[in-house]
């Protein structure tokens, strides 16, 4: 048992916090909410120079050879800073999918370019029929043709769809919607003929998109993983994405707690600091309980993943807990910061809006409780 990070990990954490506090002030976060691209290519380049995009890639592919926990630490800092942009899409949804399912040739082509900061990727997964999260409710058609496939269908809630250079589309090549069998993954050039993208106006203004595929021709060599076997890769990717999202949420939630505590130490009412009131202290204590539980269970799930040990119950438990926890933390943060925190110009709404987006991403708490129910014998 050891809750300590290595010296390298601590350094990574510190570097990330310093870098992001300088490069990603809240003025920038707000500006990016209004920006069509939603990120700054200059900052993207600097992050690539720090080695962040390739943090878990093998060194032979231009990466840093780090493990999943390194990525988790980085994401925690990004969540703390509300970093806008396609890091999660590119590195987690793109990078992990390539690592889990890509051929050597695909990895050799894509990973170094991601690591260099030359490529933005994303996963086009969810569809209009998915009114509640279900990873296998896939109908996007991929018709086999001579040495290519033709994709037809619509994807929704595709993160950073608008700025992605490549999309990894989850398509159905066999079976019925809802079945975990018969899925295939395709690397699709975002500029290919027949691909149309739109930004969805979301609560977090986080540039999720709709992607329409109309007779999009994809060369056969862009099939990612085995035909009809994409569901297995997808499951691995979604498990890692869920933990990665937890890390982002925990970072954000901790920032909200820090804001609330500082405010309670400054704000006076009735001639005393509001932080001396037990009602306020207990709100803060509850936030700490939600966050610390979320943090350790996220690390534990990530550690199990890293070790290749059975992790289904812990991953689902983490996403269920952290989704609820972040929601409650922002609720308590708003309660402490009251009217001032309700103002658009305050930092609080940046976090409460993102908490909702993160809660919904990769399955909300009730979805993950269903997975836990299965694990405990239901």
């Amino acid at each position: 048992m050891d809750f300590q990070f290595t010296d390298e990990q601590k350094m990574l954490q510190e570097t990330a916090r310093d870098f992001l506090s300088k490069e990603c002030p809240k003025t920038f976060v707000r500006a990016m909410e209004r920006d069509v691209r939603g990120y700054s290519p200059e900052l993207w380049r600097k992050m690539a120079d720090l080695g962040w995009m390739g943090i878990t890639f093998p060194e032979s592919y231009g990466g840093m050879g780090g493990d999943f926990l390194d990525l988790i630490l980085l994401l925690e800092e990004m969540g703390r800073a509300c970093l806008p942009g396609p890091f999660f899409s590119t590195v987690v949804l793109g990078g992990v999918t390539l690592l889990e399912g890509g051929s050597e040739a695909q990895q050799r082509t894509f990973l170094p370019q991601i690591a260099n900061g030359d490529l933005v990727l994303t996963l086009a997964h969810t569809e209009p029929a998915t009114t509640k999260f279900d990873p296998f409710l896939i109908t996007l058609k991929a018709k086999a043709q001579q040495r290519s496939y033709e994709l037809e269908g619509t994807k929704l809630f595709v993160p950073d769809a608008q700025v992605a250079n490549w999309l990894i589309a989850v398509a159905r090549t066999e079976g019925q919607a809802g079945s975990r069998e018969g899925l295939s993954l395709f690397l699709v050039d975002a500029k290919a003929q027949g691909v149309r993208r739109e930004i969805l106006p979301t609560v977090a203004r986080d540039k999720q998109g709709a992607v329409f595929f109309q007779k999009v021709r994809v060369p056969a060599e862009n099939l990612l993983g085995a035909l009809h076997e994409g569901g297995k890769v997808l499951e691995k990717v979604l498990a890692k994405a869920a933990i990665a999202k937890c890390a982002e949420m925990i970072g954000g939630a901790r920032f909200v707690l820090d804001m609330g505590v500082s405010y309670a130490k400054e704000r006076e009412q009735f001639g005393r600091l509001i932080g001396t009131f037990q009602a306020v202290q207990h709100h803060c204590a509850n936030m700490a309980i939600y966050i610390e539980g979320g943090k350790y269970i996220t690390y534990k799930a990530a550690w199990l993943q890293n070790k290749g040990l059975p992790s289904a119950k812990l991953v689902a438990s983490a996403k269920a807990w952290v989704s609820d926890a972040y929601k409650r933390v922002v609720g308590l943060g708003h309660q402490i910061m009251a009217g001032t925190g309700y103002m658009e110009e305050h930092d609080m709404p940046l976090y409460s809006r993102r908490a909702k987006a993160a809660e919904l991403a990769f399955g909300d708490a009730s979805y993950h409780r269903k997975l836990v129910a299965k694990e405990i014998g239901f």
Binding site: F3, H282, I289, G293, Y296, K307
Partner: protein, 392 residues
């Protein structure tokens, strides 16, 4: 970051599980923890645990231990908890008092008491709370006045749960009566033989049928050598022990059999011709409990790790305590809802589901968020010590 156990630790767990599966009956488990109170079976079980080498792994060799890290004691607590045995049979001595004797006691006290604690032979009873000193413990009034080689005690304690079977009282009393000395700087700790003349124990029965006690002291004489550590430092010793006590007492694993039984019940019980387990609400509620048990477990793992490494703990075990005790209430509440009308039946009724265990836990669960410090005091500690918020 490492959430695993070493090979040696796993080997210990393996041997321990085999022993517990063979020896730990529900009767003994209930004597350890529940309404029945420690009886001859639990005493014998305690001696057997020690004889088989499962007690004392984490204690220094010179007092009869094995000199290994606290992890072994935590494994023991977890495995007992998974089998309804919420703690070590004579747990006040083993998991609370013994650590303070080791840290602060004289060599004479260590040699006298530690080996007997590790052999599972003796039990202590905490003598802290008084009728007017509950959450505000430092305001206690029990007096200890020096008289030659003795202290003479007068006063009253209450809610001293093991007093009717423990051999020793772990007694906090006021030893400095100077006006204007802050209350917490005038308290000392003592070990008192429970059969000393002048001690009267009167039972108090709790709503869940457990016995706790009032203890009255009338001119009770205790040798000065039975003072633990320095005079007037007792309150500090009590406070420094609290974190480790929380780590050893609030074991999330002890809620596992409850959850497990409820899952079984939901699968085996029909309503309108279908198993309760098919009800999505029941699935969701029990899944949430499983999630929270995992969270409680990582809280415990974290604060235990700090203890094992000697990292100063400030509020971390308090989180484990607050969370685990409140989780017990949520779990029991859901359990009672699942059992419906049958949930109110007591043990002994042929209609009582799950041997009346949930009904008993329902009554007992009112205590968990009060005993050893209320959730409210716990949250004050988390806010003030953990987050640096100012005291009111």
């Amino acid at each position: 970051m490492d959430f695993g156990y070493t090979e040696a630790e796993e080997e210990f767990r393996h041997r321990l599980c085999a022993f517990l599966n063979r020896e730990l009956t529900e009767e003994i488990a209930r004597q350890n923890w529940e309404d029945k109170g420690v009886g001859p079976e639990a005493r014998e079980f305690s001696r057997q645990l020690a004889a088989h080498g499962f007690l004392g792994m984490s204690w220094p060799k010179e007092y009869g231990g094995q000199g290994l890290p606290p992890t072994y004691d935590f494994i023991l607590l977890d495995e007992l908890g998974k089998r309804w045995g919420a703690h070590i049979p004579l747990d006040v001595g083993y998991t609370m008092v013994g650590h303070t004797i080791l840290r602060r006691g004289s060599e004479e006290l260590k040699r006298d008491f530690l080996p007997r604690i590790i052999r599972g032979e003796i039990e202590f009873c905490l003598g802290y709370t008084e009728p007017n000193a509950g959450s505000d413990l430092a305001s206690m009034k029990m007096r200890a006045v020096a008289d030659g080689d003795f202290y003479v005690f007068n006063g009253q304690k209450t809610f001293n749960t093991e007093a009717h079977y423990a051999e020793y009282h772990w007694l906090a009393a006021r030893t400095d009566f100077t006006p204007n000395v802050p209350q917490h700087r005038g308290i000392s700790l003592f070990i008192v033989d429970m059969n000393s003349p002048g001690i009267t124990v009167r039972p108090l029965l709790t709503m869940s049928g457990e016995q706790t006690n009032e203890v009255f002291y009338e001119n009770v004489r205790v040798p000065k050598s039975r003072m633990v550590g320095e005079k007037n430092k007792g309150f500090y010793y009590m406070m420094e022990a609290i974190d480790s006590e929380r780590n050893h007492v609030f074991t999330p694993c002890r809620l596992m059999p409850l959850l497990h039984d409820l899952i079984q019940y939901a699968k085996e019980t029909q309503f309108n011709g279908r198993p309760l387990a098919e009800d999505p609400r029941i699935q969701d509620q029990l899944a949430q409990m499983a999630v929270e048990l995992e969270v409680a477990q990582v809280f415990a793992e974290h604060s235990r790790w700090m203890e094992s490494k000697g990292i100063p703990m400030t509020y971390e075990p308090e989180i484990t305590k607050v969370f685990t005790s409140e989780l017990e209430q949520r779990l029991v509440d859901i359990g009672m809802e699942i059992l419906g009308l049958y949930g109110q039946l007591e043990e002994g009724s042929k209609w009582a589901p799950l041997r009346g265990r949930i009904e008993w836990y329902f009554l007992h669960s009112f205590m968990t968020t009060i005993g050893a410090g209320t959730s409210e005091i716990g949250r004050n500690i988390i806010a003030q010590r953990g987050l640096g918020l100012p005291r009111g």
